[in-house]
Structure formats: C-alpha cells, structure tokens
Subunit: 215 residues, 8 copies
C-alpha cells in the first residue's frame, strides 16, 4: 500500500445503505478495514451477518471489519497520555486505531496539569517512549508541560471537552499550536484517528531505521 | 473615595492637548493620578513642568503624577508571576499600579511551564501569598499549573505575546478561562492595570478582615 | 487538601457507567463530593442506593454525594447578584457550590441594569460584602455598574442567556473583561462552579487574615 | 432631494487626485457637501483655494465644503451622550454632521456607567429629548442603562475605543444589540455620520408631524 | 410607566413553573403582559385557566396575557417590509408586538431585492410612512435598497434565515450595519420584539410632536 | 499553455532582489508577464532597464512586462460594474488583467444600490453582456440586485472598502455568497486578478463555442 | 423569464401549511417548480394528491413539482466532480437542479486529492468540459488541483463535511477562495442549487454564442 | 540536555537592551544559541563585538550566536518542501534551525499544487525521506496532496502568505488540520522554528533506533 497503512471509513454522515455498500465491497475483496465514528445505534441496526465479522467498541465508536489480531505484538513504543476522564473516547480512538495497525500502546490517564503530581510521577517512564500522543481538552495545558519534559515525538490531540470559551476544542487546539514548548505537532480536534496515523508514521520510520540502521 | 482607590488615566488614543487638559485639572486640585499606556514619545513631548512632577517608567509605560512614595510599606502579600521574558511590560504594569496604590509585590519571572522546574522551586513560597497575579501569553498554561498548586486568590493576566494562533492574546485568555484548575479569575488581555486593581480589591478585603477580625 | 477545597465531578459528557465508577470510588473512601452538570434524567436513571446518599437540586443541576450540612454557618459574606430571572440556573450553581464548601451566601436576584432602580436600592447593603459574584448574560452590563459602586472583590459570571449576537455568552464575557470599571475578575461562561471557587479562594484568605490578623 | 438630506463624501481610502475631482464637481454645481474621515494631513495638502471654501474640524475629521451656517437654529432636540473622554472624535462626528444638516444638539460627555452618578444627574433632562445618540466603547454598558431610563429614540454608536476583547468595537456593538433594555437601535462601529443620519431621519419625521399634526 | 411601554416576558429558557409564577404575579395585579418566544408545545402544556386569558399566535410565538384590543386604532404609520417568505415569523413578532402596544401596522411581504420590481412598485407608498421596519435574512440587501429610496426612520431586523456563510443571521446583520445607505438603525438578529419597541419609540415621539406641535 | 493563459507574479511580500530574479528569468525567455500588487514605491526603485520594458499603472498596481498591445480587439463582452468610487483600484485590477489577456471590457462605475436609479438606467445594456464582474465592498448589496436582473455569468468581487463590521471585506464576501439571487459566483476579497481570470475562463469557453458552434 | 430560468422553493424552515399554499399557487397556474431542502419526513407528510405530481429524490432532498422530462437532452457539457463519498448529497443537488433546468451532466465521484491518481486518470476528459462543478469539504484541496489542470469555467461548491476546524465548511470555502490556482469561482457552503445555477448561467451564454456565433 | 536540543531566543517584541542582557548571559557561559525573528534593522544596531560572534541570515531572520559548523554532516534525511516562492522566509527558518541543530536538509521549492507536475516529478525522491516539512500558505493544498503520496512523517508549516480569506495563515492551517490525508501533523502559522524542532524530535528517535536497533 502506497502509505504503508490502509484507508479507514469515516462513518459519520453516511446513511445506512451507503455503509452497507462500502462494507460489501471490502468483504468481496476479502479485505479488512477500520471504521471510525460508528455510533452505537448505527451499529445496532446493522444485519447480524455484518456484526459477526466486526469487532466493535462503543467507547471509541470504532469497528474492525474482518480483522484478526496479530499473533504477537512488539512492546509498546507509543504512549497515550490523557488529561481528564472526559477525554476517554478520543484516547480510545487513538489506541484502537493503533491496535488495528499493529502497534502496541501504553495508556496514562487522568494526568492533567491541575493535578500535576500525577503527571510528574510518570515523567521518567514517559521519557523512554519515542512517540507520545497527548490528549487534552479545555485549556489544553498538558502538551506544553509534557513538551518541556520529554524528548520524543509529541502528537497533540486537542479534544472538544468543555464549554463556553473552550469553543468545542478550539482553545485546546490553539494552546497546543501556540505552545512555548518546542516541537509539538498537532492534529485536528477530536481526530483520534489522525493522531494515531501521525504516531504510526513516526513509528514506521523508526522501525525502518532499526531494520536498516544506516538510515 | 467610593472604591477605596483613585481613577487612572488611560493615555492611549488621547491627543497631547487632551492629556494636558486632564493633567492640569488633576494638578489644580492638588491631587495625584496614575497614567497608563503612556508611550515614551508622548512623554518626551510633554513640557518639562509636567515631566518634573512625574515618575515615568518606560517598560510599563506608566507615570505617577504628583505622587510621593509612602514612608513605609507592609511586607509583600501579592506575588506577580510571569511565564516568559516577553511578558515583562505587562508584569511591570501590574507592579507599578500596585506600588502606586501602596501595595508591595514580589516578582517571580520567567517561570513558564516549558521550564517546569523553575516554577516548582517556587511553589512553597507562592503558597504563602494570599494573592497571586499570573502573567502569561502564547498557550497560557501557567495559570492552570499554578491553580492546582496554590490556595490563594489567582488573578490571571493573559498577554498578547506570540503570533499566529496566539491571536493577540486570545488563546492565553481562553486557556485561563477554560482551565481545569478551579477558581481562576481572569482580566482582559494586557490589562495589567485591571489585574492590579482586582488584586488590590482582594488585598483591601483581607486588610479589612485583619483590622476587624470578626469579619 | 492541597487547595483547601475538594475536587468536583463534571458530569456532562460522562456516560452512566463512568459516573457509577467514580461514585463508587468516592463512597469506598467514605469521602464526599460535589457533582455538577448532572442532568435530571441522568440523576433519575441512577440506582436508588446512590440517590439515597445524594442531595440533588434540579435548578442548578448539582448533587452533594455523601454530604452532611454543617451544624452552624457564619453569616453570609458572599453576595450573589443576578441580572435576570433567566440567569437562575447559573446563580444557583454558585450558591450550591458555596453551600457545599461551607460558605453562606445572600442572593440578590433580577437586579439587571434595565431596571436600574432595583439595583440602586441594594447598593448600600452590597458595599458591606467583601466578595460579590455578579451573574449576567446578554449585554452583561451589570458587572460594570456594580464595579463603579462597590469596593469588594467582584467575580463576574457571564451566562449564555440570550440569542443572536449574545453569541452563547461571549458578549457578556467580553463586556465584563472590557469593562471600564476597575478590577473586575471574570470566569468562563456559565461556570458557576468556577465562580464559586474563585469567591471561596478570596473568602479563605479573608478568614486566614481574620484568624491571624498580622497577615 | 430624495432622502431629504445630501450625500456625504467618505474621504478614507481616496487618493488626493480623487478628492480633487469630486470637490471640483461639487463646486462647479454651486453645491455644498460634507466630507468625513478627512485626515488632518490630507486636508493640509489641499490647495488654498479649496481650503478657503472649507470649514474643517480636526477632532471629528470632518469638513463642510461651500457651506453657510443657517441664520437661526431650533432649540436642540437631539442629545449626544458619551461614555468616556476617549469617545470624543466619534461624538464630534455626530454633532458636526447634525450641525451641517441644520439640527442643533446638546452634548453630555464623560457620563459612563463606571461613574454612574454623573449619568443619573442628567436623567431628568435627557427624558425631555425625543432623540438621543449614545456613544460608548469598551463594554458598551451606557446604552443599556439609558434604555431603561428614557422614553425617546435611542441611537447607539459603538466605538473602537479599548483593547484586547474590546475587539475594535465589536464588544460595544454586541452589547448594544443584545441589550436587555427594549428598543435600542444601533449603527456600525465608529459610524458617527450614520448615527447622525439615523437621528436626523427621526427628527425629520417629528418635524413633519409637528407641521401636520394629524400625522 | 417610565418608558411609556410595558415589559415583556421572554419565555425562551424559562421552565414551566417559572412561567406560571410570573403569570400569576401579573394576573394578581390585574395587569396585562406580552409573552415572546413562547413555543407552541409550552403553550399547549399550560393549564386551561391560563390559556383562556391568553391570545396566542403560533407563527410569531407570542401571547397577550389579559389583554383587550383597543376600541379604535389610528391608521397605520409603521410599515413592516419583509424580503422572503421565510422571514414570516420575525415579521409577525414585530406586528404582534406593535398591535399589543396599540400601534397599527401595514405589511409588505416577499419584496426582496432578487425580485426588485415587486419592491419598486411599493416605493411611493412606503415613502409616506414615517417609520419602516425592514426584515431580511441571508445577504440582507433589502435595507440598503430601501435606505436609498425612502426618507423615514428605518429599523432593520436581520433574520437567521439561510445557511453556510449566512452564519445564523450575522451576514444580514453586518450588511445592514455596513450599508452604504445613510441612517439605517439596526437591532439584534431575530429580535422582532426589539425592532417593534424601537419603532414604537419613534412613533411615540412623533405622536408627542403632533400633540404639542412646538416640539 | 495548459490553462490558455499565462501565470502572473504576485509582487506583495516579495523582496526587490526576488522580483529582479523573476523578471530576469521572464526576459531571458523572451516571454511576457503580468505583475500584480506592485506598489508604486517598489516600481520606482527598479532599474530603468526594467522600467522601460514595463507598462505600469499605479491605480491598479499592475505592470505588464515585455507586453505589446494587440492590433485589434473584439468589442467588449465583459462588463465591470462597481458600486462606489472607493472600489476603483480593484475594478482597475480586473480591467488591466483582462486587457493583458486580450479581452476588452466596458466599465460601469459608481452604480451602487444606495443610488438605485443609476444602476437601473444601465440594466438593459448589462443584459446584453455574457459576463459581468460585480465589484462591491461594505454591505455588498450590488451583486444581489444585479443577480435578479441579468441572465449572464456574474463574477462577484468583494472589496475591503469600509470599516467596523465591514471586517476588511468579509461582509461583502458573505453577502455575495449568501445572496438570494441565484447563481452568483464569487472570488476572494480584493482579488481583481482572480475575478478577471474567472471571467476570462467563461469568455474562452464562449469563444470556443462560437468557433465550433456545435458545442 | 427575466433570468432564463425559474425560481426554486427553499423548503427549509417553511411549515407544512406554508409549503401547501405555495404548491397550490404553482399548480393553479399550471406551472412547474423545483423544491430544494425538502426533508424526507416533510415529503412523507404531504397529501397523496401532491406527491403524485412530484418527482422526489431523498439523497439530494429535491422534488420536481409538475415537471415532465424533456424528450431529448444535449450531450453533457457540465462535469460534476466530487472529492469524497460524504459529499454525495451536495453533488446530487447540483445534478438534480441541472436536470430540472434541462442541462445534462456527467459525474466524477470520489476523486479527492488524498487519492490523487484517481483524479489524474480523468484529467484529459475533464479538459473537454466547458463547465465543471467541483464539490469538496474538509480541506477543500480538490478545486486548487483542478484549477491548475483544466481551462474551463470552474464553480467550487464547498461542503460542510468534516468536524473540528472544518468549521461546518468554512475551511473548504476559504481554501477555494484563497486558491493559488487562477480563476476559481465559488458559491456558498452546501449550496448545490446555487452552484447549478452558476453553471447554468455559463452554459446559457455558451449556447447563445453557439447559436449566434458572432458574439 | 533535557530535550536533547538547546533553547532558542525569540527576538520579536524584545527591546535592544533585553537582547543584550540575554546574549551576554549566553556568552558568559561560553554557550551558543539560536536567535529567531531577529529583524535586519535590530541586527544592524547591535555592537560589532556581538555581530562578530554571530552568523546572521536576513531571509530567515535567524542568527547563530557563538556557533561552529560541525565537521561533517549525515546525508539529509529531512526534506523541506515549499509551495510558492512567497513562502521562502518560513522555509529558510526551518532549514537554518535544523542546520543549527546539526541536521542536514534538502529543499524542494515552488512545487505548489497549482503546478502539480512540478510536485509529481519529485514524488519518488520524496518517498525516500523519513521526515518531510511541508510549507504552504493561501489554500494550503500541498500537505493534503503530499499526505496521499509519501509514507514518512509530515510536519505541516502553514504560512501567513496571502490576503482576504487567507486570514493571515488561518486557512492554510485549517486545511492542513482538516486534511483528508491521514496522519499530517501541524505547527503554528509561520512557526519555522517549531516545525524544525518537531522534525528534529522525529530524526532523533530515528537515530536512537538506528543506534540501538532493538527499539
Ligand atoms: N520562532 C519561534 N517560534 C515559536 N517559538 C519560539 C521561536 N523561537 C524561540 N521559541 C521558543 O520561545 C522560547 C523563548 O521564549 P522567551 O522566554 O520569551 O524568550 C524558547 O524556549 C523557544 O522554545
Ligand atoms: N461545572 C464545572 N465547570 C468547570 N469545571 C468543573 C465543573 N465541575 C467540575 N469541574 C472541574 O473539572 C474537573 C474534573 O474533570 P474530569 O477529570 O473530566 O472529571 C474537576 O477537577 C473540577 O475542577
Ligand atoms: N493579485 C493576485 N491575487 C491572487 N493570486 C495571484 C495574484 N497575482 C498572482 N497570483 C497567483 O499567485 C501565483 C504566484 O505565486 P508565487 O509563486 O508566490 O509567485 C501565480 O501563479 C498566480 O496564480
Ligand atoms: N437550496 C437553495 N439554496 C439557496 N437558495 C435557494 C435554494 N433553493 C431556493 N433558493 C432561493 O431561495 C428563494 C426562495 O426564497 P423564499 O421566498 O423564502 O421562498 C428562491 O428564489 C431561490 O432563489
Ligand atoms: Mg480529573
Ligand atoms: Mg524563557
Ligand atoms: Mg427581569
Ligand atoms: Mg472617564
Ligand atoms: Mg421569495
Ligand atoms: Mg458613490
Ligand atoms: Mg474516499
Ligand atoms: Mg509559483
């Protein structure tokens, strides 16, 4: 595959018949695919023949179609760090996407900066990860703090958690982009799939380098 | 005075003759006043008779007109904490306003979260201050971190430092307002004068309580 | 507790199972907690064993979990002033949070500036309060008027009341931040919990000063 | 004339030669005209033959070309009320435009709501005016307060005074539009000319009614 | 009454019990009132004893509580001009409010500028009205065209009709405010009540002048 | 050429040396090019050897490099209609670009809707043009009125003329896009070059059709 | 007809009775009309006598009232190119409107730039179309790529597909307007009807030219 | 060093004396540093003793203080791809920062999508780079096209090039974030320094993996 990873289906805004057509095409090729933004009620309405070939997770609203888990996984080299318990769905979309792509992850949850000590306890471990996905909504202060503490690739995933001037995630997005910590890289609000792909691009290049150490 | 503090003159957008008329009126009453947003070139154009009665500071762009420093000050009970060296003018406007009002301050500068250890070294001292002004631009993560560490009144002063999505201070403002740390209170972007007045209101009520302990 | 007050649970966007897990954890520790943004239908769906340990208020959408009212309260030193009868839910979130924290409040309702005389009648009483929370939506003119009349700490709580250019509370927020009255401090739109915490920080420092008058 | 008042020339963004062409055309017809947004340096560069036929005012940046003051004026029926001394240029554009159109005005300046008592002292007089122009920047609270106190036509002129979330006048504009006081009518930010024309439309209809009392 | 007109009740965002309390208070005083933004389902849920004293109109979503129509009306001096048939609810809120206040109106509907000839046919008649309310959404071009054709007071009521860059009425609002036609006065998006009050203020001053012709 | 028209050089934000390099490259190929956004002072600083090969127009800020006017032009089939005299520079950028591309234009200036009769006088002639460029700033009402009166292709060019809520052309842009007149096509604010290219694309297809009438 | 094409009915925001009145008027005149934004449930609620005279399509949400397909169509000269399968409803609104107006179209779907090769395969064919409608949401990169490859008229239809900073179509809209490809013309977000009308204006002028080749 | 790379000095908004103090501190430690946003005129005003220790580049506005180029560089593993010649300063800030950090780069300039063939010619080579920085302003379509063609880490650097709805880089930023190409990572507008640091984080992890191939 051109990009070393398969395309995913964004189910939001697609009608039931549209989804059926797409799934049939995938299954007809004996292929597999990842489905994102698949709401529980849409999944529930699907025919059992489809649901049997799917591994569905309601928290992340993702499904694996026609997918078999790999026999063995490398130890996790991607950390998924989230600020509040409200950011769980987005963090789950990241890990589910990476699992689908064959990359193990380790989660660090509820380590937002309002309770700084919880984050500080994990810093030494986080410094060993080559890639970190930082998930945060509201004021989005977590990526800035992380950015000053760890040397790896940091992918910031701003979330739409919050109200008022949180502006549906815009404040967290802007805080990550305007961070005074150097070298943070950012994806769209609530785009757990995109954050996972960005992390996976980095992991792939690291694997390539490890396989062919000259570069 | 109705509010227990004098009015200040916002010099921005006022013509030279407008400023002269106002200063004459103050001096005619034998009164004093604080002038803010007084640009160095505007100050330089003023007649020497005015400049002699003024204590001017170019960093904060403030002047004290017809002001005598108090014989003695209380020990500082307001801390002014700033994230980056670019936030100096706004932090200076806070301290200069408080000095004018007769309140001592202690400054903690360049303790932004990208260099978290500098901030952590000061936390124990900061916890002893009843009032803290937190000055930060760009991503504005400082107030969130402080808010989880100290129990006093926290006045957040977002600054227009930065570019791109910093949006002239809007991101720092929104980050302070949307903070997951509880009980942060916020003033307008670059409003060092307002932050000082908010801090002074709190200090006044604390003084009143200390003077009449029953409340 | 690090901040002299307990954490609250923001129930918005949390699923029923997530809330149950959190409540179990609180109860297992024999602890108490405040729950905010708890919608009536979510509360109604909870098992009776939980509901029996909760003091729920549908107007403010808050619940006290495992909480016993204090034997005695100080006389109120925090005033909660609201502009219109549409701002009732937010004003109630302020008072409920303060009650939970052990701080008595006095309410002044429907004293918006379009009916200025109602506000003016209360000014003398309001001047005796060391801390005032000003709740206002739409044009948000109340804080500016108050700010010119009373010397205490003023926490402005803009609300999302209104339509069109009220912009979900943004106009009231900006009016409070841009006020020509000196020293107003502002929290996020509809953040009654945050306004209460900011007021409580000030009250705590006042209590500390009253207890140890030297400062 | 179709609208009962002449067209004005908006000089901003017009080059010197463009202005000369327009003025020649007016003078060739023996006509008069009002010029707005005419900066002092543009005026200074004009040939003396033009400047002799002009009545120029640098505060409002307006000029009357080929205009003779009327022999006699009615007593003022339009009040121009402004919140701060920074709003002077806009208030002056209103009065200069109305003078040009032959309508007398009375000014009430520096009566912003942060100093509410100054405004309250004038309320009884203001209630006698059929038309009021309310000029205010920053938080724009003046129109809301006025709107609850006087029965006449109120034209709100928001100004670009202020910084940060004042957003170049947007906050004052939105506050006037979202006011809880009933029946305020609003013009564009800094549009003193437009506010004057709106006031003049009302005055004209009042004059028409007074001349032909049956309506 | 201080403003020569009664207060209205904005029913949006008020709970059923809140509305009942308010209505009881009005009825207890033998008073009347206007209720706006009263949705059909809220009205349907009210007890028959209330509904009997109410004159409800579902298009404008307004109700008159305890109101008797006046024996006789003056001929209409306020014209309500609307651009598209989608703007009907807002135009109806204007006329219903004015009817309640005792002012007759004449409606001109579906005269938007995309079908310019329909508007031009009415221009001569419209020039006889001292007050015009111009209702328009989407691009909001109607007020600009009217403003160049008629001499009376023009109150522009932008509506939230449209999608995409119509931005919930913001484009129509800005077009009215930025109009090149002189002297348009504008109210908040969808604020039919406010437009009616602004028109009524003008009508009142015209009546006052007609009654006491000297001014 | 792939697009049937040559590329232009956007001179804004290019340094003098950058421009020289580009011009040398064009001249070395014996080619010609159009330069846009070339400020008078930048042009004045260029070496005479360049200036001699250029046809520069300061109003539109365009230059033709190494260009010879065509011997003969078709009669104009593109009309350029502008609302106010402040929109002259943008209208000139349209006509200069089209002249460069070999397409004749006819201009209709100062026909904005506030003076509707001037526009109506030209409607019959405008209906004969297959392509019209409508140039308008501020409220941008001109395109909507035109759109209801003429059947040809209408390219709307919003301009940054105006202040306050004109928002640097955004209101005119949005009004054109949200127009209730069907089939208006719009380009970026102040993009006279782009409007000309869009008009030229239509003209080219019309020429192609006229040359090969079957389609 | 003045514009060479009939008016359409925008059904969004119209009540069932309003729609009935309009349809009766059309049918009473023996006329036909196009209805847009007609939701399936609204259509389903209509009386059978109406539904029998209608040709309804749920994907585009359009209906033809009292319409007979033309005996014969020209070969398609308008291409409708769409980026993703989520943009289907908008692309369908374009083709359905053009079919109603009697213009044949050819569709090119799912040719977004993330899978560039699918688009490149069609370029040669696309270059033969005089008019292209480019439908794209999210980042809206398709029009820019097309604009550099084909010489015909390009009408860009941005869609509201996407989330986060897609901002309901604003990013796709701005990308089309700010494109570095010359001569793109743009319509409002999701305005398939408007895109079709713009394309039809161009087709009409091409037909006129082909019929009367001299101009 | 905690992050494996040194801090840089953002010179924008710092006064000459502030910069001198910082440089003295660096030199006193025998350290080196990178200075960004150093305008030519600020550099020109510095004392020769400073300028001698600096390697200044006016295009990128960067200086290396007390820096010696490394003896030997690895072959470039970071590609810097830019869309237009107007994006040169930002692309230069990226390469200068990486050079300072000891990472070689290869540049691909003026390969924007409006001239798609130029980009396509380089795709095979670009696929060999583990890290790519994509620099683009205006519509920002380049990153989306690249994202579908190459497997490496892609850091998108939106630039403020353009006018009107380019909105100072916001459109390019949003287009990169909302891209339908999977796994793009984005930095703040014009933040060449940040893009370089993000690329360097990835390169460092790749180096670490190559050095210790097991992971
Ligand atoms: N061009 C740049 N853009 C964004 N951040 C920068 C840039 N140059 C330096 N920085 C960051 O800004 C910080 C310096 O801020 P300050 O304390 O104000 O000097 C450094 O630690 C860098 O991480
Ligand atoms: N109504 C509220 N508004 C804003 N913040 C709140 C509110 N209620 C609770 N919080 C804060 O949100 C945090 C909980 O976030 P979470 O980890 O998602 O449960 C708490 O620590 C509180 O500081
Ligand atoms: N005035 C203008 N407005 C918008 N785009 C322009 C303008 N002039 C030239 N262009 C486009 O900008 C491109 C030049 O970009 P650059 O490579 O930075 O010189 C050209 O290919 C034109 O398509
Ligand atoms: N889908 C649509 N999007 C934009 N405008 C439309 C649409 N459908 C119809 N229209 C226009 O809206 C006008 C109808 O407005 P109204 O008077 O409210 O029915 C028609 O004249 C059409 O030009
Ligand atoms: Mg938490
Ligand atoms: Mg620093
Ligand atoms: Mg009330
Ligand atoms: Mg004042
Ligand atoms: Mg219509
Ligand atoms: Mg004109
Ligand atoms: Mg696809
Ligand atoms: Mg180029």
């Amino acid at each position: 595959e051109r990009l070393d990873f398969d395309e995913a289906i964004l189910c939001a805004r697609k009608s039931d018949p549209q989804l059926t057509v797409i799934m049939d095409r995938v299954l007809a090729h004996g292929a597999r695919c990842l489905m994102t933004r698949l709401e529980p009620d849409v999944f529930a309405r699907m025919a059992p023949t489809y649901r049997e070939t799917m591994d569905y997770d309601p928290v992340s609203r993702t499904a694996y179609l026609n997918w078999t888990p790999p026999a063995e996984l490398e130890p996790p080299r991607i950390a998924v760090v989230s600020a509040g318990s409200s950011d769980m769905p987005q963090a789950a979309e990241v890990t589910r996407t990476l699992t689908y792509l064959g990359a193990a992850t380790k989660q660090f949850i509820d380590v937002g900066v309002a309770g700084l000590w919880r984050l500080l306890e994990s810093v030494d471990e986080l410094r060993t990860f080559p890639v970190i996905v930082a998930v945060a909504g509201m004021d989005g202060a977590l990526p800035s703090v992380l950015g000053g503490l760890v040397p790896g690739v940091i992918i910031c995933l701003p979330t739409s958690t919050g109200y008022g001037v949180s502006n549906g995630g815009e404040t967290a997005l802007h805080a990550a982009l305007a961070s005074c910590a150097p070298g943070l890289a950012v994806v769209n609000i609530d785009n757990g799939y995109g954050a996972a792909c960005a992390a996976f691009r980095a992991l792939n290049m690291i694997r390539r380098a490890a396989a062919a150490p000259t570069g």
